[in-house]
Symmetry: C2
Subunit: 334 residues, 2 copies
């Protein structure tokens, strides 16, 4: 059975191909009855618009692509959930690829999505090979970058200031009385958010007159977080507080403390980042930083659609990351 | 600047368009040097193959689509992570859409992915409108269904027996001495996995001569799980064990127990399902069922690629779900 064409749909619905095009691309410009007839024909024939062809009046595919680093952390999942919901309400389908923090793979995925004809793109973090941005610019493809606050004028960003958030954490830990602080962060290479958090914390420690911050890079798994904390707690002078680059690392650090017989927060304070479900489930529940993930998702949907529809580049947006006090941070024991 | 064509790439690389096609679609059939020249031309021109066109020898796009219910549960995220890795090693890009357990949206997403020209599809669960299967069959598009064990001969499934897994849980809870058991399951509508788990548990209780199992349906969030458990524990005869449809619900149930001053597992046993990170982080750590999510992801990649490349429909695969004993199940207090 040959693939049904736009012409087949038009014949079946008894309308012109131009009308089918309009019914698909600008349904509000077509009479209700006509639209329903076209929709019925599309269903009957199992027709899927082939947007690669020249047949349609509009080149829009009503799909938006997103490339995220991983699905293995609820923080991206929840942000994309909101993004997906918001786009779906406007009849736009979100297609997601995950790069596993691998730049070459991200590049291949962006090319694949562009090749599939997406109308716009959502990316996480601003640091990537210039070739990707060159391609997007050449094609004049709208794209929006989440999770960071500085596109340096070149990009539209919807995010928060990772550097400032990390500074806030150090300040709060300092205010609680800690002077011996260590940090576990995500692998910095290819992750500008992790890098900015490490940088912000390092500089804040210096400004507060603290000794150089001991920073351990770790992949974002429970086991890796546990291992990193165990290294920190077993070698050199033991810190009274460990700041973690995300909640998963912090949960791993709680495991490490427990195995060493340390009570959190009496013997050791631990602070997370993100505020995913996990942060409320650990014992003690994690003091952490709430990333504005749902707001980023919602605004990203609005901005990318506006840009696609109006051809007007939207402004960047910066949200605050919020301090969430639970029970894993306390003054150090005397 | 006009969109670069296959011809532009061929001219730039100094080869024929057929060679460019081959370099893209069957790179192992092209000399290394030629392939590198074509790749360089593709990068320089920012060319993305337009697979909707007639230009290419092969119609393959080297993309596979997946529609999953949600990214807001690590279990799907981790399965897709493995799927993505396995496909990427073969040069195939995975594009994912999330239906939020909404059937109409799933249908739109399947159509969008098919319209974008994916070579194959991965779906979760077998229950969906026949129109979707009809479309896939008409197009002879390879698709593989995960998370269930019975495609009733019609579908290729790679999964586990949800009914048998739920029976196993009831048997274990019964063996621990419990006779008053309640269950919190995911919303059954549009979720054949949740439905099968509820059914299996219900039937097993009957076979063991227990009173009719009290089952509460709940959406899959911590708060909803907490609320459902609170209802179960505050109304009617209090059970000594609550079986949960996933780990997130179980973590919520632990919260509810704690708020009522109940010790888990001394006063109340709680069992999860999935074995995500969360299950190890709760206090007490969850006794749960390990879903073979990574194996499903890996096998799905192999099967869908085999099917796409060989045109031979692969066999279905059934894995075991594994009982994981931690500390949230104990004999009931006397």
């Amino acid at each position: 059975m040959p693939t049904p064409t736009l012409e087949d749909v038009a014949r079946h619905a008894g309308v012109s191909t131009a009308t089918v095009s309009r019914a698909i691309n600008t349904p509000d410009r077509v009479q209700e009855q006509t639209r329903l007839r076209v929709e019925a024909a599309i269903k009957t024939l199992s027709y899927t618009p082939n947007f690669g062809g020249q047949a349609l009046a509009s080149r829009r595919t009503n799909t938006v692509g997103a490339v995220i680093p991983t699905m293995d952390n609820a923080i991206f999942g929840q942000a994309l959930q909101v993004l997906e919901e918001s786009l779906a309400r406007e009849g736009v389908t979100l297609l997601v690829a995950t790069s596993q923090y691998n730049r070459e793979r991200e590049e291949a995925q962006v090319r694949a999505l562009v090749g599939r004809g997406v109308d716009g793109l959502i990316l996480i973090g601003a640091e990537r090979p210039p070739a990707i941005y060159d391609m997007l610019d050449q094609r004049e493809l709208p794209y929006v970058i989440l999770w960071v606050s500085s596109g340096e004028g070149r990009h539209v960003t919807i995010g928060f200031d990772n550097d400032a958030a990390a500074r806030m954490v150090v300040q709060r830990v300092y205010d609680a009385g800690h002077r011996k602080i260590a940090m576990i962060v995500g692998v910095n290479a290819g992750n500008d958010r992790a890098m900015k958090r490490a940088e912000g914390a390092r500089k804040m420690c210096a400004e507060l007159g603290l000794p150089a911050l001991r920073i351990v890079e770790s992949s974002y798994t429970l086991e890796a977080g546990e291992y990193a904390a165990q290294q920190i707690l077993s070698n050199g002078e033991r810190p009274t507080a460990i700041i973690c680059g995300n909640d998963v690392l912090a949960a791993g650090a709680i495991f490490a403390a427990r195995k060493l017989g340390l009570d959190v927060p009496r013997d050791l304070s631990i602070v997370g980042f993100d505020d995913i479900d996990l942060a409320r489930v650990t014992l003690p529940p994690l003091t952490t930083v709430r990333v504005p993930h749902r707001r980023m998702g919602r605004t990203a949907a609005r901005h990318i659609l506006d840009w696609i529809r109006s051809d007007q580049r939207p402004d960047s947006v910066v949200y605050d990351a919020e301090w969430v006090e639970r029970q894993s941070l306390a003054p150090p024991a005397m």
